[in-house]
């Protein structure tokens, strides 16, 4: 998500990279380009205007830091503005003092309310709550049926009007919602999520209906569900719903597309309510709290190590991670380890998303379409090897190669490609480990040492060896996510496209 905007910014900043100083004309030029970039990302016009004005004050009016070059100064200022516009930290959901906690979902048709209601129920469940879903969309044919199907997948009960009333499309959603709170008390459910019908912000009658639903259930939280692909109208819609319902936050959906997500930037600024959750895929667990501070880094191509690490922590066992890291850095890295790695990575979610979160990944890699079946092929090849072959790939001769190819349903060339590339990687890792080990291995003790150096650019070249590699300091890398300024390249990936990557 946000690649389009991210790429635009990258283009703007790269032009500044070699500049000594910025005069007023340069600043104007940069601001003009930023304005266009934001408008093309569907950020609301008025928001763009104030954003650019604040940025101008920042860039022109103040004594600029001498330690940073112009590109870094601009990145830093834009980052600060983005964080300010998106609004600080993630929203904290605090349950109602007297259960049940009632959550009201509202929005335009097709923004994804029903699916999002189910995802939110799933989220509450993962927080140890007992949600009840309420089908108060009695308008769209089969909306309640959709909610029931989704709810069954996450094992959450649904309350709605009787089936014949739902089928007749004449039921009263206000009565359903009011009844649901009673039902929740009876069943001992502590969270009630009310899915309402989609409605246009200008439809006075339906807006009045949703107001009556709100009055009937006095929601603890009222969320507006907004499609990330919404254009300039996002703000008008949000304002209309806010005036009617007093929103507590916004849930942004369909962020897994290539929408520039301007709506995310606009709504907070205009309505003063934050993005509370974001939905990033079609699966029911592709849904989480929204972290505006992290998003700013992502928009500016600085990656999002924090989210990455959180995901990793859910998947990796601690010892396992340490073992893997050590093996990697010491070069005792076999195909078996690689296989295990790959499986862990896949459990963390779609590879595409993971790559996008890594700082300094070249654009070509972030955008590369990595499909599961490509990865499956690699897995199949490794699984067709004997343990000895996995430990010592050099054993693989022509006859073994054809056996492996037959076993995995691939071509012998692919097997040798994999083996060659793997030994490359092994070599690379060894270098990488050898250089980083002094600082990286003992961990905490040397943490401060690493941090002092973080002011300088990310990659320094060692100057020795046929393929000099930049050092990577992971402490610094994590810091970089918070303190903007310059990209960090992974060893071996430079800024160039690896061969064969289109």
């Amino acid at each position: 998500m946000f690649e389009a905007l991210s790429d635009r910014f990258e283009g703007i900043f790269s032009k500044l990279r070699n500049r000594g100083r910025l005069d007023e004309r340069d600043v104007d030029e940069v601001l003009r380009e930023i304005r266009v970039a934001l408008l093309e990302a569907d950020v609301n016009l008025t928001v763009v205007r104030s954003f650019v004005e604040r940025l101008r004050v920042e860039l022109v009016g103040q004594e600029l830091s001498k330690a940073l070059n112009p590109a870094q100064q601009v990145v830093k200022a834009v980052h600060a503005e983005l964080v300010a516009t998106l609004g600080g930290e993630a929203v904290r959901i605090i349950p109602a003092a007297k259960p049940p906690t009632v959550v009201l979902m509202a929005g335009l048709q097709g923004s994804g309310k029903t699916t999002t209601s189910a995802k939110l129920a799933g989220w509450f469940r993962s927080q140890g709550r007992q949600p009840l879903l309420v089908g108060a969309d009695l308008q769209r044919p089969a909306a309640v049926a959709q909610l029931r199907t989704l709810a069954a997948q996450i094992d959450v009960p649904v309350f709605s009007a009787p089936d014949d009333v739902v089928a007749s499309a004449t039921g009263d959603p206000v009565a359903v919602a009011a009844g649901a709170v009673e039902e929740a008390r009876r069943l001992g459910r502590d969270v009630v999520i009310v899915d309402t019908a989609g409605r246009l912000a200008i439809d006075a009658e339906l807006m009045d209906q949703v107001r009556r639903i709100s009055d009937a259930v006095t929601p603890t939280y009222t969320f507006l569900v907004v499609d990330a692909m919404t254009g300039q109208d996002a703000v008008t819609v949000a304002r209309a719903f806010h005036d009617t319902l007093a929103l507590d936050g916004v849930i942004l959906t369909k962020l897994d597309g290539d929408a520039a997500g301007g709506a995310a930037l606009s709504v907070k600024e205009v309505v003063g309510r934050p993005i509370a959750f974001a939905s990033t895929g079609e699966k029911l667990d592709d849904f989480d709290l929204f972290h505006p501070d992290r998003l700013a880094g992502r928009i500016l191509g600085m990656g999002d190590m924090l989210t990455l690490i959180e995901r990793a922590e859910q998947v990796y066992e601690r010892d396992q991670a340490e073992e893997a890291a050590a093996a990697l850095l010491e070069g005792r890295f076999t195909l078996d380890d690689f296989l295990a790695q790959m499986q862990q990575l896949r459990r963390m979610g779609p590879l595409q998303g993971l790559l996008g979160m890594m700082p300094g990944m070249p654009k070509e890699i972030r955008e590369a379409q990595i499909e599961d079946r490509h990865v499956n092929r690699i897995e199949a090849i490794i699984r067709s090897m004997t343990p000895a072959e996995r430990a010592r790939p050099e054993l693989i001769d022509a006859s073994r190669r054809s056996r492996i190819a037959v076993g995995s349903g691939t071509q012998p060339q692919e097997v040798s490609q994999l083996v060659t590339q793997f030994s490359e990687v092994q070599r690379l890792m060894k270098r990488f480990g050898g250089m980083g080990s002094k600082r990286t291995r003992p961990g905490r003790k040397d943490k401060d040492k690493g941090r002092k150096k973080s002011g300088k650019g990310g990659g320094r070249v060692t100057g020795k060896g046929p393929a000099p590699l930049p050092k990577v300091d992971f402490e610094q890398l994590a810091d970089r996510n918070r303190v903007p300024g310059g990209g960090l390249r992974l060893p071996g990936l430079g800024g160039t496209t690896p061969p064969g990557l289109q």
Partner: protein, 374 residues
């Protein structure tokens, strides 16, 4: 993607994650249990089916018959301007600022730019339109803002002119109209309304529930088919949409219906496997006796600049023949279709102006421009 490169990427990614994790191990472990992953594999399974070309009839489809009783009320065509008045009043006309100035000055051009960008026309096309307008204003020595806006309207109408906006219907084949688009734009509803319209026009119509992914999508279309008195074909949930469409074509041919309206699952244009699946649906639908005579992108009128990317991707996969702009009554904007017609030459054919069945109407450039600049 070359295998070798993939290995490199995966190894590096793994290394990065593992090492970073070791360093940040002091961070408190948030042990929130993940949700069940039962539904993880479904999309992968769908991807797999896209590779297969030939086995079309895998699941035996349930063919539901609905009595074809329909008393067709002559459709009264609502006008854009009537329908959009509500929306236009809710959103204070940005062009009023231009008119309020009384005379042309530098601010006029800024206001016009704001108005066009605010209508999602896009930065680039807005620039082009205003450049053209400046030329016209100089040439005709326009000084009255009202005249200037009228001239802008003319430019927009001229850009939208000269396109065939009718829905193609061949007499010698089983016509298939395919409806594609991202999630939540109103594909199923559009299929329902078009079915209603064509049925009222005397056609015998088969609706194909090609959205086998979204929960209860088939039920939603079934309701529409019943209301409109159309035949209805569905497959198993999670089944292959191509087979549903194929069966619908077979059924239509067997019963002498000459129009199949095929719904498809909403999909983001960035998911290449799902776009491949869609391309396959189109290929299968195009086999004799079927012929895809319309492939329509359904687009929500509030969509911003992403609409252009959507149109590009969908036309690459399925060769679009037109656009259906839905929910225009909510925003009175939809300026992105200007960019789509301009850049890609794909005409807007139908417009949704309200929730009623009769509210889906043919696109009229003049009325659209009137509404846009109201």
């Amino acid at each position: 993607m070359e295998l070798a490169v993939l290995v490199l990427i995966l190894a590096l990614a793994g290394a990065l994650v593992a090492v970073a994790l070791v360093f940040l191990r002091h961070r408190s472990r948030t042990a929130a249990p993940r949700l069940g992953t039962a539904d993880r594999s479904d999309r992968v399974a769908r991807a797999a089916t896209t590779v297969l070309e030939e086995p079309v009839v895998e699941e035996t489809p349930v063919v539901e018959e609905t009595p074809a009783v329909v008393e067709a009320p002559p459709p009264v065509r609502p006008s854009f301007v009537d329908r959009l008045t509500r929306a236009r009043e809710a959103i204070a006309g940005p062009f009023r600022a231009v008119l309020a100035r009384g005379a042309l000055d530098a601010g006029t051009w800024d206001d016009l730019e704001d108005a066009l960008i605010g209508a999602d026309v896009g930065v680039e096309l807005t620039g082009e339109l205003l450049e053209e307008l400046r030329g016209v204003a100089r040439e005709r020595r326009i000084e009255d803002p009202a005249v200037l806006i009228a001239a802008l309207k003319e430019l927009v109408v001229a850009r939208l002119g000269g396109r065939d906006r009718s829905l193609r219907h061949d007499a010698d084949a089983t016509n298939v109209w395919l409806f594609v688009g991202v999630n939540g734009v109103g594909k199923t509803t559009t299929v329902g309304k078009v079915g209603h319209r064509e049925r009222a026009g005397g056609q015998s119509v088969v609706m194909a529930a090609g959205d086998t992914f979204r929960a209860a999508a088939a039920e939603q279309l079934a309701t529409w088919a019943e209301r409109a008195g159309c035949d209805f074909v569905r497959g198993a949930e999670g089944g292959d949409p191509s087979s549903v469409v194929f069966d619908a074509v077979q059924r239509a041919a067997a019963r002498g219906s000459d129009l199949v309206l095929a719904d498809t699952a909403g999909r983001l244009h960035t998911k290449s496997n799902l776009m491949d699946e869609l391309a396959k649906v189109r290929r299968v639908a195009d086999r004799d006796p079927g012929r895809v005579t319309e492939c329509l992108l359904v687009l929500d009128a509030v969509t911003g600049q992403n609409g252009l990317v959507q149109a590009e991707q969908f036309t690459a996969a399925t060769a679009l023949t037109g656009v259906v702009l839905t929910k225009l009554d909510g925003s009175a904007k939809g300026g992105i279709v200007l960019a789509i017609e301009h850049r890609l030459g794909i005409p807007v054919k139908l417009v949704g102006l309200g929730e009623g069945v009769e509210d889906l109407v043919p696109f009229e450039p003049v009325e659209f421009a009137d509404a846009l600049f109201g």
